[in-house]
C-alpha cells in the first residue's frame, strides 16, 4: 500500500510537483505500466481508454491523508504533492529503489516527467494507442487506423503525431518487467 502511494507521489513529484487532473495521472500511470514499470493498479478497458478504479481509490485516500492536494480549476483539477507527500516519498524511496533498482527508478521518474509535459488530450490519445498496441496492434498503420476509429474527435494528424511518440517512448523507456 505504502509503495503504491509512494509511486504515485513520485509520478506527481517528477512533474515538478503538479499534475493537471486525475485523468492525466490515470493515463501516465497506465503508460508507465504498459512500458514495464512495476505499477500494480488494475486497469479496466473502459470505453477505449484505460481506467483504474484502484488508482482512483488510492488518489482519494492520498487526498484524505494529506499526501496530495487537489483543487478544482475551471473545468479540471490540479493535483499537487504536499509536504506530507514529499515526506512519504523520501521515507519509502529506498524501498522502491530496492524493488526496482536505482537505474530503473530514475528511468521511470524521467518517463513521468516527459509524460507530464503532454496535455491531457494528448495523453488520452497516447494511452489509447498504448492500449491497442498492448493487445496486439503492433503494426503502426493498423494501430492508427483503429484509434482513428475509436477516437473520432481527434484528427488523423493528431493521432499520427502521437503514434510517433509511442515509438519514441517504447525505444527510450520500455523495460523488462
Amino acid at each position: 500500500m505504502f509503495e503504491a502511494y509512494t509511486k504515485i507521489a513520485l509520478a506527481v513529484d517528477a512533474c515538478k510537483g503538479h499534475v493537471e487532473g486525475r485523468k492525466k495521472l490515470q493515463k501516465m500511470i497506465y503508460i508507465a505500466k504498459v512500458l514495464g514499470y512495476p505499477l500494480r493498479e488494475d486497469y479496466t478497458l473502459y470505453l477505449y481508454g484505460p481506467y483504474s478504479e484502484e488508482l482512483a481509490g488510492e488518489l482519494q485516500r492520498m487526498k484524505e491523508l494529506d499526501l496530495l492536494d487537489e483543487r478544482k480549476l475551471d473545468s479540471s483539477y490540479s493535483i499537487k504533492i504536499t509536504k506530507n507527500g514529499k515526506d512519504l516519498l523520501n521515507y519509502f524511496q529506498t524501498n522502491i529503489e530496492k524493488e526496482m533498482g536505482i537505474e530503473k527508478l530514475n528511468k521511470m521518474r524521467t518517463l513521468f516527467k516527459e509524460l507530464g509535459y503532454f496535455d491531457p488530450w494528448q495523453l488520452e490519445i497516447l494511452a489509447t494507442l498504448f492500449y491497442f498496441y498492448q493487445i496486439g496492434y503492433s503494426d503502426f498503420n493498423e494501430l492508427q487506423r483503429i484509434v482513428r476509429k475509436v477516437k473520432p474527435k481527434f484528427s488523423p494528424k493528431q493521432i499520427s503525431t502521437m503514434t510517433e511518440k509511442v515509438r519514441m517512448f517504447i525505444e527510450k523507456f520500455a523495460v523488462q518487467q
Binding site: 500500500m1 514495464g36 478497458l45 481509490g57 515526506d87 493487445i135
Partner: protein
C-alpha cells in the same frame, strides 16, 4: 436417433439447451483447447480455502453467461426488438469467450505478471478465434467488446459490459451457490423480466422497468455484500497475499541468477520474457499448485516456508486497523513494524503485508464526451402500455442512493500467526 440439441445441466440455471446444428460453432469453441482450459481455472481463485464449496470453474460461469444473454435476447426479440441471426450468434460467442484470457489465480497473477485478462481475451480473439470458428472474423467479435455497435444494437454492449451485465448476473448467483453465502442471491427472474430496450439519446440501450425496482435493489445489494463477505474476505486476501509473496520470492531468486525449481511453463514469466499466446494458454491452476509444491522443497528458506504455509493453510493473520490517521502515524507505525521485524531477524518484506480493499457498488457511469453507459436508467410502463420518460434509478431508491458512488474501504495488516499478539500490542491494537 441422434439428438439435434446439446444439453448441459447447470446447477445455477438448470438445463442449458441449444440447437446443435444452429449453434454448432458454440460447441466448437467449447470443445477447443483454450476453452476447456477454463475447467482448470477456478472462478474464485483462492476462495476455496475459506469457503470449501468454491471449487467452481470459469468454464461453468462462461457457459452460464452465454445462456443468460441468449435468454434475454430472445425475451427482447419476443417483445419486438429486431435482431439478425448473425448478430445473435456473435453475441453468444462474445459472452461465451469473455473470460477465456484469464490466468490462474487471476487476481494475484495479474498483479505480479502484468498480464491483463481482458487484453489476453482480445488477443485470443484477434489471433486464435477464427481457427476454431472460421465463419466469424476476430474483428467482428472484437467490435462487440469495444461496443462498436450500431445505435439500434447498443443494448448488446450493455448486456456484455455494464453494471447489469450477464457476467455479473451469473457470477453473483454462481458464487453465492457454491460458497453457500446467501447474500449473493437476488430475484433473477424478476430482474430478467424487468429489463427492456429503450431509446436513449438516439441509441437503443438496456433500461430497467420500474416494476422491478426492488429486484434491482436486491441485485446491487447482493453485489455489495458478496464483495465484503466473499471476494474481500480477510482470509481470502491473506491467501492471495501469501501467493503473491511466493511469486515475488521466485522472481527475486531467478533475478539473482539462482536456480529455482518451478514448472517450466512459468519460467519465462518470472524473468520478464513475454509469453506467446500458446504458452499463455498452457497456464492453469495446476501449474501454480505444482510450482508451489516444488517450492516447498526449495533450499531457499523463505520460499520453502511460504510455500509450506500455503499448502497447509497457515496463512498470515489479519490485524485490522480501522484507519490510519495521518502521515505521522503512518511513518511511526512503519518504523515500529520494521524495528520489530529487524529485532527478530525476520524479513519484513516477505512476512508482513498491508491490504486496502475497496469497492464502489453502484458506480457513476462515464458520460460526457465518450460513448458508453448511459446511466442506470429506468422507465415506467402503465397498464395501457404508455411509457414514462426515462429517469435515474437512484432517484427512486433510497437504498441505491446510499451505495451510489460511495467507496467502501477497509485497511488490514497481516503477519504470521506467531507474531500477531506481539505486533498488535506494539501497534496498540489491544
Amino acid at each position: 436417433m441422434p439428438s439435434n440439441k446439446f444439453r448441459i445441466r447447470d446447477p445455477v440455471h438448470g438445463y442449458i439447451i441449444f440447437d446443435a446444428k444452429r449453434f454448432e460453432f458454440l460447441l466448437n469453441v467449447i470443445d477447443s483447447f483454450e476453452f476447456q482450459r477454463l475447467r482448470r481455472i477456478k472462478q474464485l481463485g483462492t476462495t476455496y480455502f475459506v469457503y470449501p464449496g468454491a471449487e467452481h470453474s470459469r468454464f461453468g460461469h462462461s457457459i452460464g453467461a452465454m445462456w443468460l444473454i441468449f435468454q434475454l435476447a430472445n425475451e427482447f426479440k419476443n417483445n419486438g426488438v429486431e435482431m439478425e441471426e448473425d448478430l445473435m450468434s456473435k453475441m453468444l460467442l462474445a459472452a461465451l469467450i469473455h473470460d477465456v484470457g484469464h490466468g490462474p489465480f487471476s487476481h494475484v497473477f495479474e498483479k505480479i505478471t502484468m498480464y491483463d485478462h481482458k487484453e489476453m481475451t482480445l488477443l485470443y480473439i484477434r489471433e486464435k478465434l477464427s481457427e476454431t470458428v472460421p465463419t466469424f472474423s476476430g474483428d467482428e467479435i472484437e467490435k462487440l467488446f469495444h461496443k462498436e455497435l450500431s445505435p439500434e444494437n447498443a443494448w448488446i454492449g450493455d448486456l456484455l459490459d455494464s453494471q447489469i451485465d450477464v457476467d455479473r448476473m451469473d457470477f453473483l448467483l454462481r458464487d453465492s451457490l457454491y460458497t453457500g453465502v446467501d447474500y449473493g442471491r437476488f430475484d433473477m427472474q424478476r430482474v430478467f423480466h424487468s429489463l427492456a430496450v429503450g431509446e436513449v439519446d438516439g441509441e437503443n440501450h438496456l433500461v430497467m422497468l420500474l416494476k422491478g425496482l426492488h429486484a434491482f435493489e436486491g441485485f446491487f445489494i447482493a453485489y455489495h455484500h458478496m464483495y465484503w463477505q466473499v471476494y474481500f474476505h480477510k482470509t481470502t486476501r491473506a491467501c492471495e497475499i501469501l501467493l503473491e509473496k511466493i511469486f515475488q520470492r521466485i522472481k527475486e531468486l531467478l533475478g539473482e541468477g539462482l536456480d529455482v525449481d518451478i514448472q517450466s511453463e512459468l519460467e519465462g514469466l518470472f524473468v520478464g520474457k513475454p509469453l506467446e499466446l500458446e504458452e499463455f494458454f498452457l497456464l492453469d491452476d495446476c501449474t501454480i499448485l505444482e510450482t508451489i509444491k516444488k517450492c516447498r522443497l526449495s533450499r531457499d528458506k523463505i520460499l520453502s516456508d511460504l510455500s509450506s504455509k500455503f499448502l497447509n493453510r497457515k496463512f498470515f493473520k489479519c490485524i485490522k486497523k480501522e484507519k490510519i490517521g495521518n502521515i505521522k502515524n503512518i511513518l511511526e507505525m512503519h518504523e515500529k513494524i520494521q524495528k520489530f521485524y529487524e529485532k527478530r531477524g525476520i524479513s519484513h518484506e516477505y512476512y508482513f503485508a498491508t491490504d486496502e480493499p475497496q469497492n464502489i457498488s453502484v458506480k457513476r457511469p462515464f458520460l460526457e464526451e465518450e460513448k458508453g453507459e448511459k446511466g442506470l436508467l429506468m422507465v415506467d410502463i402503465n397498464k395501457f402500455g404508455k411509457k414514462s420518460d426515462l429517469f435515474d434509478f437512484i432517484d427512486r431508491s433510497d437504498i441505491i442512493r446510499s451505495l451510489y458512488n460511495v467507496r467502501h474501504t477497509a485497511f488490514r495488516m497481516y503477519c504470521p500467526d506467531g507474531l500477531r499478539n506481539e505486533l498488535r500490542e506494539i501497534l496498540g491494537e489491544g
